[in-house]
Symmetry: C2
Subunit: 116 residues, 2 copies
DNA sequence: CAGTATCCGTTGCGATACTG
DNA sequence: CAGTATCGCAACGGATACTG
């Protein structure tokens, strides 16, 4: 019930770090985009409106380091780099997609409830 | 399939704003804490390790404005202010709790998969 | 195509002090 | 107790330019 090791409520625990990565500004959108299938860098850029190259690259590197995304390079010229969800990433994205669906479908209610 | 009005993938849509609020550094933790029942300001501060008064107040105000959290003041001295989830907030938190549970329980796998 | 590097303004956010 | 106000630094993150 109270704070336990690994609990998100305690700082300096790994789970807090992962939570911050996953809920960062662009990570949610990247993961959800990849949920529909592997995508290349430029396709992701086009899909996610407003993301800069820098932030997309940074987000992808973080997600790859956390084991949620797999980066695959085809040895062609020009090189084709494809990103896809790992098994762990797919499990994660189930939860995120549920969140996105909720926000999207309930947006009218949210905006109706909004004050000031 | 492609970008639609209200879609999170397009910027300048309300859903993107709400998503940013909800996935902000402290909002996830506040909502999850309130999921167990109403809490007072100072109790939330103690529960959520590392949050400053400023950020807790700011987060609560945003969540209240979005209609996810309800603020109730008991007319006593000293005043007792209690925060609780609205119906909409409770629905939202279902998804967030799922996310937190996933991260917490799968943390070993995540850290095992982590590179560099 | 798929990035990296640099610059640099904006914002996040902790610390501190003060209020009803 | 339950906040608000102000300060100030560090990190976030967008724009631009450059690379293999």
């Amino acid at each position: 019930m109270s704070t336990q090791p690994g609990d998100v409520f305690s700082s300096h625990c790994g789970s807090r770090t992962v939570l911050d990565h996953v809920t960062s500004k662009w990570a949610v959108l990247v993961l959800s985009a990849l949920d529909r299938g592997p995508m290349r860098f430029s396709a992701l850029r086009r899909r996610i409106d407003g993301v800069s190259e820098k932030m997309l690259a940074q987000t992808l590197r973080t997600l790859e380091a956390d084991g949620f995304v797999v980066r695959e390079v085809a040895p062609t010229t020009p090189p084709q780099v494809t990103y896809r969800l790992s098994w762990l990433g797919a499990e994660l994205t189930v939860h995120l997609s549920g969140l996105l669906d909720f926000i999207t479908t309930r947006l009218p209610d949210i905006q109706a409830a909004r004050r000031a």
